[in-house]
Every structure is written in C-alpha cells, then in structure tokens.
C-alpha cells in the first residue's frame, strides 16, 4: 500500500481495512483477494454460505493465521503478521465460534483475566490480584452487563451453553477493546436465547466497532449497519441491508441458494 493510500485510510476513519488479502492452505485458496473497509463505530456483518471463508477472514484479522499476501490495517496501522496478543494490545478483541473459555476458572476469574492486561498489570508477580480495585470493578461491571453476576463463582466449565456463549462475549469485551470481532455469537442458541444475545450485543458494543460473522439473518438484519457478502473467498458486495437485498448478484449467488435449501436462513 502506498503512503498516500495509508493516509487516505486513516482519514476515511476505517477501523479495519483489508487490502487485497489472500490466504491459501496448500494449493487451495480460501481467501482470494478481499478488500474491505469497516468504518469506525459501525456494526458490520459478514455473511455468506458455509465454506465461504468467513471464519478464516476473522482468523486473519485477529492474527490467528498469517496472510499469504495483502495488508491488514487497524485504525490505519499495519497489523499484518503481528501475533494475536500484539493485535489485541492495539485494541482488537475477538470471540470464537467454538466456545473458547478457561474451563477450570470461575466466571469472575475468566472475565478478570480479560481485564488484567489492559488494566496495566501485565505479568506482575508483585500485586495481589484480589486487592486490585480497578480490575475488580471492571470485571464486575462486565459480569453485570453479560448477565452472569449471579454465577460469579461457578467454574466456567459447568455453565449452560448459552451462559458459556455470554461468557465468551464477556471475555472478549473485558479488555475494553474498541474493535470487537464476534464469530457467530448466537450459534446453537434457541430463539429466545438468540433474542437475548442480540440485545446483549447491541448494548455492549454501543460506541464500538463491531464486526460479526453470523448465519442467522434475523440477527444480521437486527444488528448490522452494513453487510458484506463473502462467497468463495471474495467479497461480492458491501452495503446496507436494502442494498444487499436488492443486489442481483447477491440474490443470485447467496440468498437465492439459501431460499432453495433453506439451510442457512
């Protein structure tokens, strides 16, 4: 990317910018040149059929995988090739499609782990963690918001599925990152649980930038300001709900097939 383009990206207020990002596993190209700008403060959904590369895209942005080529910018800064913890420290946090929590730790401790780095305690072995009032307040605040305050001391491994999903989001939010990536936050939830989760996500991402992968169209249309459609590793279209709905290419390639088999609707 030229210096001019970088300046442009910063000026345009993109929280995340992908420039011709490609990723291959062996000979198979999963992401084939994705360019995408997520505006600061928007809620952006990435939809697409199974195997379109949505989760792979998340793994590239968050540093879990390395890109084969292309650039990724976070708030105008190049984060390509950085490790997950380095990207997290620059203000990006993510959740996982398959629940990824600390099973033997209590709910409170799970959240507290998410708070510690950003509260500045890093690798300290000279602070007593129970005496850190700022950490305690923040962790309790997050627990309130995700509705798990009453389950404070329960080992995370024994929570119900929906509670674990909420905790998953809670750990992601705990560090106070400005850019949040949620990978199928409502996967496997019942209808009422999904409705609750949508309200939760809406409340906790207020004033933040949210990018989410989601299969449930109800969730997408209820939450997202803009939508990108990913098909075969390429962005087919990006736009508002109406723009996406009326886009003939999208209808042809994605929504059409969904209506036919109904699997992902």
């Amino acid at each position: 990317m030229s210096p001019q383009a970088k300046v442009q990206a910063q000026a345009s207020g993109a929280a995340i910018e992908l420039v011709d990002v490609r990723k291959s596993f062996g000979k198979t190209e999963i992401i084939s040149g994705v360019s995408l700008a997520v505006r600061r403060g928007e809620r952006h959904a990435i939809i697409g059929p199974n195997g379109a590369g949505k989760s792979t895209l998340f793994n590239l942005i968050s540093g879990r995988y390395e890109v084969s080529s292309g650039e990724i910018l976070l708030n105008g800064q190049d984060i390509t090739g950085l490790k997950p913890f380095q990207i997290n420290r620059r203000g990006l946090a993510r959740s996982f499609q398959v629940t990824n929590i600390f099973h033997n730790l209590s709910v409170y401790e799970n959240i507290r782990c998410g708070v510690l780095w950003s509260a500045g305690y890093r690798y300290s072995f000279w602070h007593r963690v129970g005496g850190l009032k700022d950490v305690k307040q923040r962790a309790e605040h997050v627990m309130e918001r995700i509705g798990l305050a009453s389950r404070r001391d329960v080992p995370a491994g024994t929570l119900t599925y929906a509670e674990q999903r909420a905790l998953e989001v809670g750990i992601t939010l705990a560090g106070g990152a400005e850019v949040i990536l949620l990978d199928e936050p409502t996967a496997g939830m019942s209808r009422s649980e999904t409705a609750q989760a949508v309200e939760l996500i809406r409340a906790v991402t207020e004033g933040k930038t949210l990018v989410m992968v989601e299969h449930d169209m109800g969730v997408v249309f209820g939450l997202a300001d803009r939508i990108s459609v990913l098909v075969y590793g390429e962005v087919l279209a990006t736009g508002t709900m109406e723009e996406i709905r009326s886009n003939p290419a999208v209808q042809e390639a994605y929504l059409g097939t969904v209506h036919k088999d109904g699997a992902d609707a």
């Binding site: 913890f85 782990c113 690798y123 000279w126 007593r128 750990i171």
Partner: protein
Amino acid sequence: MADATLRFAPLNLGRWMIWGATALALAIAPHVFTQSFALTLLTQMGTLIIFALSYNMLLGQCGMLSFGHAVYSGLGAYVTVHALNMIGKGALALPVSMLPLVGGVAGAFFGVLFGYVTTKRAGTTFALISLGIGELVFACVLMFPGFFGGEGGISSNRVAGAPVLGITFGPAIEVYYLVAFWCFVSMVAMFALTQTPLGRMANAVRDNPERAEFIGYDTQKVRFLQLVLSSFFAGVSGALSCINFEIVTAENVSAIRSGGVLLAAFIGGIPFFFGPIIGAAVFIFFVVALSGFTHAWLLYLGLFFLAMVLYAPGGIASLILMQIPVMRAGRLRELAAPYLLALAAFLVAFAGLIGLVEMVYRLSDANLDTNMSLAGIAFNAKAQAPWIVSGALLAAGLVALRYAARFVGERWAAIQQDFEAGRA
C-alpha cells in the same frame, strides 16, 4: 496505584490460622517425634516440600509437564556447595543460614538460561525438551569434574564461618530448624505468587493457551516467568539438601530426582496448592522409612503411584477435600462403615501382596536366605504354604475391595443426590 500493591486487608482470619498452624507444626514436630531417625525424615520432608511446590508451579499451575526439574535444584546445590566451601576457607563472608538464597539465585539463573529454550513450546514439546535439557546437564556434570567433582561429587562441611547467635549447624536439630524456616518462607511466598496477576494468568494459560493469546498475553512469556520463579525455589531446596547432606553429586541433577518430584507432586495432588506438601511427606516416608524395611520399597512406591493415577488423579488432597462437604453436612458417619470395610479389604490384599513381593525378592537373589519372617511369622520362601496363604489373602482382599468400593459408591451417590436435591 498505591492502593493496589500487596496488602492483606481485609484480614483473612482463616488463612492466618492455617499459616499459624503450619508454622506451629514445623516448630514442634521435632519435639513430638524425638527419635534421631524422625529428625532425618522431617528435615528431608521440609526440603522436598519446597521442591515439590516449586514443581507444581509448573505442572499444576501452568500445565507444564517437566521431566527435568532436578536441573534447577541440582545446579543450585552445586553453586551452594562451592559457596559453602568458600565460606569454610574464609573467602566468603556469608552466614550459612543465607545460603538458600545463593541456591535460589543460581536456580533462577539457570531457569533464565534453559527456560528461554524450553518454554518456547508448551505441551509434549516442552516435556521432551525438558527431558533433553535434563540429560544434557547430567552429561555435563560428569564431563566437567573441575566444577562438578565427577562421580564422587563435591563434599563440604556445613560448620563454616562464624556462628551467628551460637548456631553452628553442627547438630541435626539446627539444620532442621533452618530447613523449617526456609520451608515456611517458601510456602508463603509460593502461595502469595498464586494470588498475583502472573499466577492467575498461569492458570489461564494452563486451561486454554490460545484464548490467553487473544486477551493480550504472550503465553511463552507467562511460561518463562513462571519457570524462572519456580527454578528459584527449586534452587532454595537444592541449597538446603546441600547443607543437610554436605555433599552434592550428579544424582542431584539426575532424571531420578526429576521423576521423584513429579511422583511426589502428583501423589499429593497437583490441582491444589497444598497437595504437593502432602505428597512430599508421603514420598519421603516411602524413600527413607520404607527403604529401611524392604528392598522392594521402590516397587511399593510405583504401585502406589499407579493406583493414584488410575483411581485418584487429584491426589491425596482431592480425597481429603471430597470429604469436607459430607462432613459439613454431618453425614460422614454414614460413610464410616463402607470406609472401614474398604480399609480392611485393602489391608488384607496388601498383606498378601507384601508376602508375594518379599518372597519373590528372596528367591530372585541366590545369595539371600529363603528363611524369612513377616509380622513375626517365620517361614521359608521355598515352601508352598506361604505362597498359597499370600495368594489367597491377595485374591480375597481384592474381591472384598471391589464389593467395598461398590458399597462406598452407593452411599456416596446417595449423599450427593441429597445435595443436588437440596440445591435445586
């Protein structure tokens, strides 16, 4: 941040009582068990408690299975023995009581050196590299006799330097109190470390290293720091064993030591902070006390370890902690009968096992007398009757043990069911 530093408010009475009781137990133990043999046992237990707790900073707290932890205690001991000899020659003005700090710093130094390599990876890779480093150091010890003293090791005299307050460390009781003091300090320090951000993140890295990376933590650095701190305490333990035995040999850095501390920590219970304390005491009992009675002690230790891994992976500590909710509910009495039955069955089986093992041992070596006696009963290992009796005891004991286990299980399940119902 001034209010965020180490501080013990609100006063946790329960915790203070436990630490107070521990200190008291360490102080009066040699007056309760007055035989000189008991003092030997207690001194070695104190040393191993520090070592096993330091080992559990890796395995139990951070999920790092090390097969080479003796490297840090052993090298700490070697540095200490040289320091002790320098004190003896008057070349170093340091009271002997402060030598554990020398061992600790040496241990931590080697922790930095080797940990940089070993902690790059977790899991199986870490385990294998730790094994490799252990073998490497063991080989080096024999290769450089100048510093390590070769096969014979390096001996020393702990009565060195000017006595402080008349304490020369000549008498064994003075060494015991030195070990007890450092054991207590190390226990408190290692417990305090579990309550710090690093200690908690070590738990997080143990549970789910990947997620830890996504909340800002470099898991490699967490493992590294944890290993360096752990090596410090391993070094303290090494220094104390150097003072106690007045000799350091290649055995101090050997895989046998590394395996021993793993066994001790596991038997005691790695999921709990205090588990390795119990494990260390039991282990020393096996090694020191039992080895005086039977040459097959290692076999008994191995069988015991095997039984723990299979039936109580949480160690002795978990077996104790399981009883607490039952005791609180005042229902331990219901378990008394099945427990006693299980104990009796176990003792019968164990008696049979001892008979068989000891007879096999007598027969395995042609130089040994086959006329022997167990529990005051004299017999010949070549006769048929003792074999039949031992075999029958073992078989009957095992069958009874199975029934007893079912009995315990049923009572236990009934109590748990009531607990569940009470909760709902």
